[in-house]
Amino acid sequence: MTREVDGGLETIAVALPAIVTVDLRLNEPRYASLPNIMKARKKPMETLSPGDLGVDVTPRLTTLSVSEPPVRKGGVTVASVAELVSKLRSEARVI
C-alpha cells in the first residue's frame, strides 16, 4: 500500500487481516446508476443495537461549547493603484 507522508509517498506492506484507512486521492467514487439504486433497495439490511453487540456507547466527553469561525468582512473597491498601495501599507500592513 502507498500512503501519503509529508513531502512524498511511502509504500508499505501489511499482512492480512488488516485495517486500511483511505485518503482523498485513492480514487474517484462513482455515481450510483439508477438501475443500481433500484437493485440496492432489494439488498439485505440488518439492524442491530449496541446491546446486541455487548458494547457500552456512553459518551466519555462533554462538549462545553461550539462556536463559528469569524465572519468574513466584505471587500472594498479602490480607485487607483496608489490608493491600493497606501491601504496595503497603512491598513493591512502587508507591505
Binding site: P29, S65, G74
Partner: protein, 495 residues
C-alpha cells in the same frame, strides 16, 4: 431569528415598492422550521431602469415596516440567487429531442402567480417517464415523442393555461392595472379568457438608456438588517472548480463598449446577483480586451464563490465534467490462494460537505435540522475501493456498516447502490465517540470475520482521525493509514 419573533407558518407576499409601476416584482417571506425565516425577492428582467440592481432592491425592501420587524434581531445564515423562467405557456419550446425531453423548469413549467413549480416538475417528470417507457417498448427509443401530447392532455397544461395571461398583463399594463387585470382574469374569468396576451418583446428590448433612466441611490448596508453583496455571496455555498475557465466571453469587445457601456452603463454589473460580472478593462500589450467575465475566484477563502450565469447554484460535486470513469472489467476468477475474501466497509452519515454548518445559538453544537446529509466523502472513497477490489476479483463480498440514527439507512442504501452486497445498521441515538464506534466495529468484525476493513481516514464532521487506528489496536490487526494506492498480492502476506 429570536424565538419571540417567530410565528411558524406565517406567509407574506408583497409587490410594488421599492419597484416602480413599470417594473414587475415582489417578495416572499415564510416563517418555518426552528426559528427560521425565508425571505426572497423577485424582479422581472424586463425592468426599464438600467440603474436598477435586484440585489439592492431586495435589501431596500427589508427596511419597509412590513418586513423589518420580522428580520430585525435575526442572523443571516444563507444567500442564493436563481433565474426563473416566467414565460409560461406562451414560451414553452419544443419539448423533446433525440435522446431527451425538457421537464420541470427547464421547459418553463413554472406557475407564475403561484411562484411554484415543484409540482409541475414532478408531474412532467412522471409524464416523461411514461413517454420514455412507451418509446422503449415500441422499439423506437430515439425520441420520447409522446411526451408533448401527454403534457397537453394533463392537468398541468390546464393549470398553466389558466394562468397564462397574468405575467404578460403586468408587462403590458404596469403594476396597478396589471394587478387589476389579474384579479379579473383569475376570479371572474377563472383563466378561461377567450384571448391570450402575447409577450411582445424580449426582456432586454425595454431597457432604457442610462441618460433616460433616473439614477437610483441605494442606502448603504448596515450589516445587521441589510447587507453587501460580497459577504452574501460568501454564504451562498456556490462551488466551482478553481481552474474553471471564464464561461462568458465577449465575441466583440467594441460592441460591448458601444452598447453595454456607452448606452446602458454596464447593467450586467448590477443585475448579476453575485457582483462578479465586470465588463470593459484595459488593453494589455499584445492581448485582446479584457472580457466581461463571470469568475469563480471571488474571494480568497476555502469556499469558492462565483456568479452563476444561469444562477443555478451547484450543490453537487462538480465531478461530471470529465465524465464517469468507466468501470474496470470484472474478472471472474479470484486471485490465487484466496478463496473468499470478505471486506467490511464502515460508512458514516455526516452533514453534506457542500453545506455550511450552522452552529446552534446556545453553542451546544451544530444544528442539523433540515440540512442535507450525505455519506462521509472519505467513506465514499472506501466503498469505491472495495467495489474495485471485487471487480478485480480480489474481494468476494462487501458488507457496509453504519452506526447512528435510523436515517443512516439512506447512507447504507447509497453504499449498496455503489456496489456493496449487504448492510448492517447499528442503531444509536446520537453518533457515538470514536472509541465506542471502534468497539462496535470490533464486535462486528468478530461476528462477520472479514479479511480486510476499508474505511475513510476520518469523518468530515468531527475530524477525529481515530476510529481506524483504535479498531486496529482493539483487534491487534495491522493498520495501513492514509492509503492513496492499495494492492492485494497473493494471500495477503508480506513478500
Amino acid at each position: 431569528m429570536p424565538a419571540s419573533q417567530h410565528r411558524p407558518g406565517l406567509i407574506q407576499h408583497t409587490f410594488g415598492w421599492p419597484l416602480d409601476h413599470r417594473t414587475y416584482g415582489g417578495s416572499w417571506m415564510y416563517h418555518f422550521g426552528e426559528n427560521l425565516v425565508s425571505y426572497g425577492f423577485v424582479v422581472g428582467l424586463d425592468y426599464p431602469n438600467t440603474w436598477l440592481s435586484p440585489f439592492d432592491e431586495m435589501q431596500r425592501l427589508k427596511t419597509h415596516p412590513a418586513i423589518r420587524p420580522h428580520l430585525e434581531g435575526g442572523r443571516r445564515i444563507s444567500y442564493g440567487a436563481r433565474a426563473l423562467s416566467e414565460g409560461g405557456l406562451q414560451s414553452i419550446p419544443r419539448l423533446t429531442f433525440p435522446g431527451g425531453a425538457l421537464i420541470g423548469d427547464a421547459a418553463g413549467f413554472l406557475n407564475v402567480p403561484k411562484i411554484k413549480g415543484t409540482h409541475a416538475a414532478m408531474k412532467s417528470g412522471m409524464l416523461a417517464a411514461e413517454a420514455v417507457a412507451e418509446a422503449l417498448s415500441d422499439g423506437r427509443p430515439a425520441e420520447p415523442a409522446s411526451f408533448t401530447a401527454r403534457v397537453r392532455a394533463s392537468w398541468l397544461w390546464q393549470e398553466l393555461r389558466g394562468v397564462r395571461n397574468i405575467r404578460p398583463a403586468f408587462a403590458k399594463y404596469g403594476t396597478i392595472a396589471g394587478a387589476a387585470y389579474s384579479g379579473l382574469d383569475a376570479m371572474l374569468l377563472r383563466g378561461r379568457a377567450p384571448w391570450t396576451l402575447r409577450h411582445r418583446h424580449a426582456d432586454h428590448a425595454v431597457l432604457d438608456s442610462a441618460a433616460a433612466s433616473a439614477p437610483i441611490d441605494y442606502p448603504k448596508p448596515d450589516g445587521r438588517l441589510t447587507f453587501d453583496r460580497s459577504s452574501s455571496v460568501f454564504l451562498s455555498n456556490t462551488n466551482h472548480a478553481e481552474d474553471q475557465p471564464v464561461h462568458l466571453v465577449l465575441r466583440d469587445p467594441a460592441r460591448w463598449r458601444a452598447v453595454n457601456w456607452d448606452r446602458f452603463r454596464s447593467p450586467e454589473s448590477r443585475y448579476c446577483p453575485a457582483g462578479r460580472v465586470r465588463g470593459g478593462g484595459r488593453r494589455a500589450p499584445g492581448r485582446r480586451w479584457v472580457r466581461t467575465r463571470c469568475r469563480g475566484r471571488g474571494c480568497r477563502s476555502t469556499r469558492r464563490t462565483a456568479c452563476t450565469a444561469r444562477r443555478a447554484t451547484s450543490r453537487t460535486r462538480p465531478r461530471t465534467s470529465t465524465g464517469r470513469r468507466p468501470r474496470a472489467a470484472a474478472a471472474p476468477t479470484t486471485s490465487a490462494g484466496c478463496e473468499t475474501m470478505k471486506l467490511l466497509v464502515p460508512v458514516k452519515r455526516v452533514l453534506d460537505y457542500n453545506v455550511k454548518p450552522r452552529v446552534r445559538a446556545d453553542g451546544s453544537g451544530v444544528d442539523l435540522a433540515g440540512s442535507k446529509m450525505s455519506m462521509n466523502p472519505f467513506d465514499e472513497i472506501a466503498v469505491e475501493e472495495a467495489v474495485r477490489l471485487r471487480e478485480r476479483g480480489v474481494a468476494t463480498e462487501i458488507v457496509a456498516v453504519s452506526i447512528g440514527v435510523q436515517q443512516c439507512q439512506e447512507t447504507l442504501r447509497t453504499a449498496l447502490a455503489m456496489g456493496a452486497d449487504r448492510a448492517l445498521l447499528v442503531l444509536t441515538e446520537a453518533a457515538p465517540e470514536p472509541l465506542a464506534v471502534a468497539k462496535l466495529l470490533r464486535a462486528l468484525v468478530l461476528r462477520e470475520a472479514p479479511r480486510l476493513v476499508i474505511m475513510g481516514k476520518q469523518a468530515i464532521d468531527d475530524d477525529m482521525n481515530a476510529t481506524g487506528q483504535m479498531l486496529a489496536g482493539l483487534l491487534g490487526w495491522a493498520q495501513a493509514t492514509f492509503a492513496s494506492r492499495v494492492e492485494v498480492e497473493g494471500d495477503g502476506l508480506p513478500p
